[in-house]
Symmetry: C2
Subunit: 406 residues, 2 copies
């Protein structure tokens, strides 16, 4: 779908406030014990925006309210996010709280409520402490932007902030695309308990931005899995405020592919950071599948493998147990010809022609001791290729999730 | 599908050798370190038999060979099973070994090879040690039957043998149905690394037995999950040797429902025992879904819930975290009306009308400290009902699977 042209795209130190015309803030308002828990991104001018949302039947109140902000047009000036409480499954009071949260933020910024998106992440089924939210929005308006503050404020069980930034040239202008994300458990397809925020100073056509975000989400955020779960609150939001001064981008623009590639690199970085920071994870696992009947089946199989608890525990145990990869491939609905499958870990071929291949267990173990593991599968059926990311399954995953809420 | 009529069905102490005309044995031949690893069930007369197999793309050699035994007719006199080595993904040599294993057993019993079914379970991708198998089959022929020996010989990471037995009256004759199973990891739909063997002295029509086994498997073995995985070697085999002397059973027989109910009780017991003995498990979790659009969707949702790592860790942590149940329901493809969903744990209602319900956390915690946990979900859409079984996810699951092969 996307032609890569990475020559002119440079990764730089930066954050969602690096693109021109954006600021980002974060404060501690007491929803979490000590860490920042309320964050805000503001564009100095209304930004063409796009969003993708959780596919869960149970969409949280803030998701519904943000959808409402996009009902009339796709311009957004700010996004307000709290962590600790998801405001999901909270009925009418939850909806009222979400609308109030949006309105208070809009009032502070002196814009219509529909110019504000909101997002929440945390425990399901508890009401927001609206006194803290109300005071917090006031505090936020008086607080200076600070590096990493927004990025911290959106975290829950994450162990670190996740951000990335790229620069490129479009119409001879410097364009910056940056992003941050959160998420480390309840992560599977459709962006389970994950949030992603992308800012850019590029000018982008509305429909083109939404289409690009949807397509890129499918091969980045939707290709990560930590535990096969989907949350009620997932959202990825992209804001393009045009401050770079380029001609509005769409598919007919000569630099469209440059933009698209930069956009994808941002989302892929953020997705991989989420997988790497999966609850209890010690390793990032990348699974590349090629030779599938088509791209979709390659994506399905790669995600099946990276989502297998048995593969995940084997990687944690530095055990090149390719039989578990066979197990994961075997029970997918995708087309598979067992005798044509080849499985590689760290460059060594472990399985081919329907039979185990002799390989160095020692080299495989050394490779699996690293913190970035690549598993490659060649199906030899067609030319579909796809990649998925996940992490190992460890004692700490169980520890975190057996004791998270209480 | 099945009308229950349990009045005349009695659970008794017994094993696969309890039905008339069956014997069962198990010996240690050195595939496992110390435990029995080769087992045999023999019927004194050829038994009408039926089987269901793994849905994996990668069917192990013994699965293919057993399918071959059913090609011409459905009569089987014996089933030979080894543990430790799955003989899966072992190419031509694996097929040759499987055929030899079947032939040697048939020779000992003085029957055609097609009268013998074989089955293997254990590590994928390693060849059988055929010297041990050859000697083992001889040893087996000279060994006396013993209580629990077959049941032990089929185990891998299982912590205990799994068996059940029921008696009922058909045509005025006493009929016994018994079974045993193995499986504790790589367990999900389609009977991942699980084996089940059912023996009965009832006379049963061939087609009726296969149909009954397939239907009962769908609501018993196919409704358990330990880790979402499917194996290369799964098989459930039922043998009906007619020694009870009843008129052959089929759907037109007046006692058909009695037989079917007993058969289902055997399979449900065995399935639940597998879930209860899931790798590292401390609790059996039963999830009952009612009010779904149809039976199939109820089965899908119940299995989704019981398969959720987050639900499993919450149960392990005795945390009535119904938000995770919402999460699991939310990302199923089945029809769900969020505001109509009701969630119950141990009789307390936790979620209803789209809102959390007040409940006693203390009572819930007490309940979750037990070793059999029931979660009930009422969808209030239709009249489809279904049940699934699984277990909690614990540190020991990770321990077992991070170190199983090496």
């Amino acid at each position: 779908m996307i032609q890569l042209s990475q020559d002119s795209i440079i990764k730089v130190q930066g954050s969602v406030s690096s693109p021109k015309g954006f600021i980002a803030k974060g404060v501690h308002i007491g929803l979490r014990y000590a860490k920042k828990d309320l964050g805000l991104i503001v564009s100095e001018v209304p930004a063409v925006s796009a969003a993708v949302y959780t596919q869960s039947h149970f969409q949280a109140a803030p998701v519904k309210v943000t959808k409402n902000s996009f009902e009339n047009d796709s311009f957004i000036k700010a996004v307000l996010v709290n962590s600790a409480i998801a405001n999901a499954c909270t009925g009418k009071q939850g909806m009222a709280d979400a609308y109030e949260m949006r309105r208070l933020c809009a009032d502070q910024l002196n814009v219509d409520p529909e110019m504000v998106a909101i997002s929440s992440t945390g425990v399901i089924g508890e009401l927001l402490d609206m006194d803290k939210i109300r005071k917090g929005i006031n505090v936020l308006s008086e607080t200076d932007p600070g590096d990493g503050h927004f990025e911290e404020a959106i975290l829950t069980t994450d162990t670190k902030i996740k951000q990335t930034c790229y620069e490129m040239t479009i119409d001879g202008k410097k364009v910056t695309i940056a992003g941050c994300s959160k998420g480390s458990g309840m992560i599977h397809p459709n962006m389970a308990t994950m949030l992603g925020f992308v800012t850019t100073d590029a000018a982008v056509n509305e429909q083109a931005l939404q289409k690009a975000l949807s397509e890129i989400t499918d091969v980045s955020f939707n290709q990560i899995t930590v535990d096969g779960e989907t949350s009620t609150n997932d959202m990825v939001l992209a804001m393009a405020n045009g401050c770079a001064g380029n001609q509005p981008l769409d598919e007919n623009h000569q630099d469209w592919n440059t933009f698209l590639t930069g956009f994808r690199m941002v989302c892929e970085d953020l997705a991989k950071e989420i997988a790497r920071d999966g609850e209890g994870a010690t390793k990032l696992i990348e699974v590349r599948v090629s030779g599938a009947e088509n791209k979709k089946e390659a994506n399905v199989i790669s995600k099946k493998i990276v989502g297998s608890d048995l593969v995940k525990t084997a990687v944690y145990g530095t055990d090149a147990n390719w039989g578990r990869i066979v197990g994961a491939i075997g029970h997918s609905d995708a087309a598979v010809s067992p005798d044509s499958v080849e499985i590689y870990i760290g460059g060594q071929c472990l399985f081919k022609n329907g039979e185990p291949q002799s390989f160095s267990e020692e080299l495989a173990k050394d490779y699996l001791l690293g913190d970035e593991i690549t598993i490659s599968v060649e199906l030899n059926i067609g030319d579909g290729a796809g990649t998925a990311w996940g992490c190992d399954l460890t004692y700490d995953y169980v520890k975190i999730n057996a004791s998270y809420r209480t």
